[in-house]
Structure formats: structure tokens, C-alpha cells
Symmetry: C2
Subunit: 288 residues, 2 copies
Amino acid sequence: MRNFDEHNITEAVLGRVRNAEDPRVRQISEAVVRHLHNFIREVDPTFEEWQQAIQFLTDVGHMCTDTRQEFILLSDTLGASMLVDAINHRLPEGATETTVLGPFYVENPPVEPLGADISGGAEGKPMFVQGTVKSADGKPIAGAVVDTWHSDDEGYYDVQHYDEGGDVSMRARFLTDDDGRFWFWSIVPKYYPIPDDGPVGKMLGAQGRHPYRPAHVHFMIGADGCEKLVTHVFVAGDPYIDSDVVFGVKESLITELKPHPAGTAPDGKMVDRDYDELSYNFVLSPAK
Amino acid sequence: MRNFDEHNITEAVLGRVRNAEDPRVRQISEAVVRHLHNFIREVDPTFEEWQQAIQFLTDVGHMCTDTRQEFILLSDTLGASMLVDAINHRLPEGATETTVLGPFYVENPPVEPLGADISGGAEGKPMFVQGTVKSADGKPIAGAVVDTWHSDDEGYYDVQHYDEGGDVSMRARFLTDDDGRFWFWSIVPKYYPIPDDGPVGKMLGAQGRHPYRPAHVHFMIGADGCEKLVTHVFVAGDPYIDSDVVFGVKESLITELKPHPAGTAPDGKMVDRDYDELSYNFVLSPAK
């Protein structure tokens, strides 16, 4: 076929991608072509605008490294990540709600004993974190794998300090005890801007949006026979709790920090200054 | 707002991007969000599939260098470039049709005198290229800037040989003479696969598509008071003329190569072997 024009080209491209052997590849390819062409027809871009779009995506790609995933930021800030999350987590009653993974998870975090201090000596108010992991039928899960990661007192993740020689901190893996419990020490996290020195930051600026996420602690929890849970626990009262740049907040994931004076902590540790306690009890849904 | 779910998140994201100060940014941002979310709702991707999509785009970005533009290849192979081209070139009667720029144009090519041999000594059948540049009212345009670039006898562009120490060849800029004419020597180009050692090549494979473009010579022609013309001239009889991987072929852009025996060429040059002649007369549309 020759002489493609704005009216017949979409059908022509669909005709080609229908050669895909794998039916799922065929289905996704057809949908990409239809929605992409519909977008173009609606927006009616000039040639220069299309070149800018190509350059924007190229810049996003070039920003991606082992510790910076700009395409995840793009997906997050356009609400795509939360939509994919919602579609994939039509949960049973009582199961802990999910939210985005975000760009700061690192595979195979260090395994720490229960009660460890994972702050890496960073400054900030001490935080005692504790919780339980149960199955949907209310039974505690022993040996559940609890990955956690969060920002520091200034809103940065450890990986954002690696270039300056920073080490792993505020990031660890725990195994729940026989009663399905876990606990550890860290520092209270702060709200933070997503990394906004790249093309996604420019996009947010052009869209008149702030780049902030409310303070939260990430959890990824896995156990035999259960769906892997990817979620955060948000700190109540955060100034950005209702305008999270990545649309990740859910009411059921917000918890109050409980202030404690210096003294003997719930795990028996002697603490010489005030600290906060963050408690959350997780319920995993059964594996599909 | 909190508690975004698959039903309300699109409206929530639209509400944010509507803060854009520039109305065009607002319009494009809203369209991106609506079409992206509609695509996701239709395809219903698993979390793993979405991660694969992120990885695919990241790989496309990482493939981009100064001499390789993988996002243009993606846009080309999904028919997006030709659609943008069609939307932007609703041409007046008689004007030369347009087609994609492609990923191999290099800014500021060397300026050569009319009649120059731009083959750089590459092997292949000699080709005498000649044509005229006229305005829509039929008047020859003197001093029009004619950029041309094409593949060699094996289907490669010069930039694809730079890594091995290759130099500029089959790429030049000419100025038309007082009669609006230009002419130069090169070698006959061949059909070729678009660079398919990257993620776009993998995509084509998964979609059951070949990566070939029929043989052609690129032209970009500019003149005062005229729209810049970006087009190719295709060689008639090419095996891929009806299945160009980037949907770029238009009937009016196909021309027969005219074979000549060795002897005195139209420009007076003595040629000691058979050669082909490629002639095309371009008509520029008035500037908008």
C-alpha cells in the first residue's frame, strides 16, 4: 500500500501490527497505535511540537540510571502508576490497600534483625516502627518478608546520596517473628519533592504543579500463599497529604505518629530523647 | 483529595494539570492524561507488563545518541511521524508531497558546488541526480537550499560508519542555480533495514514485521517565502515499495531510474562506466 494520509494511515499501521504472533502483543500493539493516533489527531501537533515530544522522551530516557528512574516518575506524576495499581488490586475486604512502588526501591536490601536501627546514624527524631503481618483470615504470618524504605529528615533517600559517597540507610529487610510481628528503629521521615531537576520536573513546572509527596514509609511485604503487598504508611497531618504529586494517598494508609518521652521503649530499649512511634498492622490478600 | 481509584483518578489528574499557565501546555497535558488512561483501561496491564513498558521506553531512551534517534524510529514505525506529517501538510494542488524526516538527518551538512560527487568514493553504480526547484506558481527558485542524504550500496548511512572512523558521504547541501536547477553525482542507494539492533527492532520482531525501507534519496529544500519541504524520492521497482516499515511511500514520490551507458553525461562529465540518472522536479508551497 502507498499514499498514506491522515485518514487511512491508522488502519494501515493496525494491519501491520496484526501480524504479531503473540495475541497479547497484538492486542497491546493495536491499542498503542489507536490511542497514539487518536491523541495526535486531537492535539494536531505542529512538526516542531512533535520534535519537542521526541526530545522530551529522549531526555527522560537519558535521565534514567541505576538509581534514577525518570520514566517511573513520569508514569507516577501522570497518575498512570496509580491507575495500573488500582486495576491490579481489586482487593478483598479487610486487606491492606496498595499504592505505588515509586522509583527508590532497590533490589535485595540488607537483611536486619528485628529491633535494628536502620537510620545509619542520620540526624532526626528517632522513630520506633512496629506492626504485624496477618493473612486475610486474621492469622499472624511468621517469616513474612518485610522490605521497608523511606526518606530522611530532609526528604532524601539513601540512593540520592550515593554519588557523594553515601551508604545504605533507612532501607532494610526484616522477617516477622512467630507472632507475625516486626519492629525496628529509624528516624521520622519528611515530605519531599520527587527529583525535579530533570524533564519530569520541568513538566510539573509547566503544568503549574508542586513536586511534593507527603511523608511516608514504604513497605513491600511478601509471604507464601499471599499476594505481594506494595504500599506506604503515610504520616497524618502532613501539609501535602491532600496533594501528593503522584496521587498515592489513601485514607486507610494514614496513621498518627504517637509521641513518646525519653525512657524505656516498647522493645525494652532505653532511649535518651523523645521519639515517635509509627504502628501499622498489615493484612495480606490471598494469592490469586 | 485522597482515595484515588480506577474510576476517579483520571479526573483527579486532569484537575492538577489544568493549573498549567500556558493554554497549549494545558491542552496537550489534558490530552496526554486522557488518552494514556484510556489506553491503560483498555489494555488492563498487569504490574509486570507496566514495568516492561517502563523498561522498553527506558531502553529506547538509552539507545539515543547524537547519531541514533530511537524515539524517532519508534514514532516512524508506529505511523505517528507520517500522521503528524499528513496533518501538517495539507498541501496546495501541485506542490511536492512530503514524507518523514527519518533519524539520519544531520544539521549543517557540507556545502558542495553543483555537479560535485558526494559518494565519498563508496562502491556502487554511479548515479547522476538532477532536478529543479520551483514555486507553486511555476517560477524557478534561484538559491534554494537543497539538503540531500541517502544510503550507500549496502543500505547504510554515513553516520552508521562514524564509529569505525567513517567520514561524511552521500550527504551534502547544494544551492540551485539561476534557473532553479541542481545536479550532483553519487551512487545508487539500496533498500535497507532501519537500525534494528535496539528495542524498536525487538518490537518489530514481536509484531511480525520486517524492518525494511525501500531505496530512496532524502531531500530537504528551503527557500524564502516557501514552506520547507521534507521529502524523499523513491526508486521505482524496489521490493519494499509497498511495505515501507515507516509508511513513508507516496505514489507521486516514486521515480524510475534512467539507465545510461558510459560516455558524456548530461552535465558534460565523462563517465567510464554505466550509470543511472535520477531526476525529480520539486514544487514548494507558499509559506503559511
